[in-house]
Symmetry: C2
Subunit: 442 residues, 2 copies
Amino acid sequence: MSSDPRETHRGPSSQGSRIDPYVDAYAARAQGMVASEVRALFAVASRPEVVSLAGGMPNVSALPTDDIGEIVRRVVTEQGPTALQYGSAQGDPLLRERICEVMELEGIDAVADDVIVTVGSQQALDLVTRVFVDPGDVVLAEAPTYVTAINTFAAYQARVEHVAMDDEGVIPEALEERLGRLRSAGQRVKFFYTVPTFHNPAGVTLSPQRRVRVMEICRRFGLLVLEDNPYGLLRYEGEPVRALRADSPDNVIYLGSFSKTLSPGFRIGWALAPAAVRDKLVLAAESAMLSHSSFNQLVVGRYLAEYPWQEQIKDFNEMYRRRRDAMLGALEALMPEGVTWTRPQGGFFVWVTLPEGIDSKSMLPRAVGERVAYVPGTGFFAGDDGHRNMRLSFCYPDPDQIREGVRRLVGVIKGEITLRDTFGSASARPGHGTDAPAPDLP
Amino acid sequence: MSSDPRETHRGPSSQGSRIDPYVDAYAARAQGMVASEVRALFAVASRPEVVSLAGGMPNVSALPTDDIGEIVRRVVTEQGPTALQYGSAQGDPLLRERICEVMELEGIDAVADDVIVTVGSQQALDLVTRVFVDPGDVVLAEAPTYVTAINTFAAYQARVEHVAMDDEGVIPEALEERLGRLRSAGQRVKFFYTVPTFHNPAGVTLSPQRRVRVMEICRRFGLLVLEDNPYGLLRYEGEPVRALRADSPDNVIYLGSFSKTLSPGFRIGWALAPAAVRDKLVLAAESAMLSHSSFNQLVVGRYLAEYPWQEQIKDFNEMYRRRRDAMLGALEALMPEGVTWTRPQGGFFVWVTLPEGIDSKSMLPRAVGERVAYVPGTGFFAGDDGHRNMRLSFCYPDPDQIREGVRRLVGVIKGEITLRDTFGSASARPGHGTDAPAPDLP
């Protein structure tokens, strides 16, 4: 799933006190649509003097803009009547063929007819939820999980239940236990949403052994799996793993994206789904937007056909590997005892766990004051959890900035530890989870 | 609202008999997502020998592709880091400024901060419905109304109630009566969806006198108006009218689009909404797609800044006027007595009413057999209505094709009238509305 550069936490709206004449007219689902309490903070964090380890923006400055400029020009001059016209809700057939070739790299054997092109994989997530989720239905997700997925599930009034993870990804026994308990309680569980490879935010990858086990459990429970894989091709070490969809074509909906391997600026993602589900997704897409941009689809199709895109991904991986190494090296060298973190083999994120008594959300204003930003862990849980966690991204700043950012962050954490040791608790933890007031800016 | 070139009718899915293992897992709203029964027919209708008066595709071949090719190239080479990166869910600020300038042409005084950029105005329609409509809520719409709006309302399980129109647009007394009755019955009416200018499919325009009256009624009932205005600038005769939003900033959500005045290929539409509603729409957009394409937004912004776009619209209008005149002239010259139609001053569509006993839907296969296609009227009603109507578009075929298309259509209609006069009814009318089986192809 695409990672919103302005990823934010769910919480009460700062506009809540505004007089809104429509307040009684909104749909029930709109109650879950609330502005982020840390949005204002991220505006501050985007100042140039702040090292942001918060955003999930790919480093598009590495793209060959002259070549892409020529591709977009030729799409208009050579394919104008198609590029500038409406397309089908399912998406351009040739692009869907190319998408199947991309998926082959992770072991997926698919036909273009089962692919639907979407506005980033975020829209695919929205459409899948629209097709499956009634208010009150349960969606399973890893603990933690992708923040905007939580928002999407909330927009359809789903109840998100988390399943525990460790360094090998989601824990099969935890999944089985949770599923059994929910089924016994008569709950309608609609699907298991998972980012099995280079998880956002946890940075871990589901091991091959566990992939078999997880799919076996889901098959036994007749549960659909929603596999979100925006980072799979961004591997910096280790052996490639097969997508869950590769060995389970019948009960996996697979979501892919060009936002990280090419550019988020074209908003081209996709879903690969069993035929009956694909039919529903196409109809849902039609009522959601009629059709995606023909122009953007032809641009990405042409890029894949004419440009050595696999070489471009290798270049990206070389760059991101250096950034990951800078972050892991700095964490190793500088972090005080009691702080732990994951060691991603790919993707964009490291998940940090702070010592007992340190709260990442209430620490954030202080960190921004010290010119470093991160995303507190609480945003990645539907309930009240993640207070001791933070997500650090290494995708956007360069290695020197990353090292400096970690250095600043370590200073803040050490200060918090000193405070905790002096006063019993560090930053006052203001309430819990989404009820917490917006942190004050420094 | 954008007009889907493949506009279709709601009806039972031709895939209904397929074995679908997920049939029990879908959300209740997915029951309303059904494939069109005439979709197969439109595939036939797209053959080159068929004159299609069915689609709502703008004539993009009139666009200056060399100039646009140069604009898109320069957006990538000169603004790459922005164009190829994520943007905000509300949309590019400079484009939103330009959009305010476009709306000024119809009397709207707005600030960029109240505009949200969407994937065509279709997505704006989806997001507004998402924010306001609970299952069972009532949405008012003209009779007939835009077909994909009906689909969108259905996807959110709204109940669409139609309000009668005549050649001057919606009838204020009918609106007032309907509103009063619904309120008395304790119904939650969420908004009045209207295409006041160059209506799709009816081709009529709400008169200035009625605009005042309609807004007065809606204000009195505290009803929000959803003004969908994709065609407003495509006027071929008569005086410009002020948008409803121009004089009612507080209770109108205005939807606009560049799909007809530039190109549908970029999928740039927008909503202008009161601030509290806009906040909700931005949050809904974020969970629906994170953000729109930065690239496309910069392209359209640059086109508006650098290209004489108002001259381009004048050229479009000259071309479309000739096509409209060709259609109205041919209808006048050839149609048998008892057939009536509207006379649009702009937009893309003429709404035809057939004599008693002639059914436009069951006649369609015969028309396609005679190499002419149209959209039967039934698709533009939520209930069982429109059997004697058809929508003819003059936007896409050239004047000679239009005249030939009308000539063929007249032959078919005359044949139906002869059949009716001989056997009492023309084409067997197969059941009613959405329960009708798919028509056989010739």
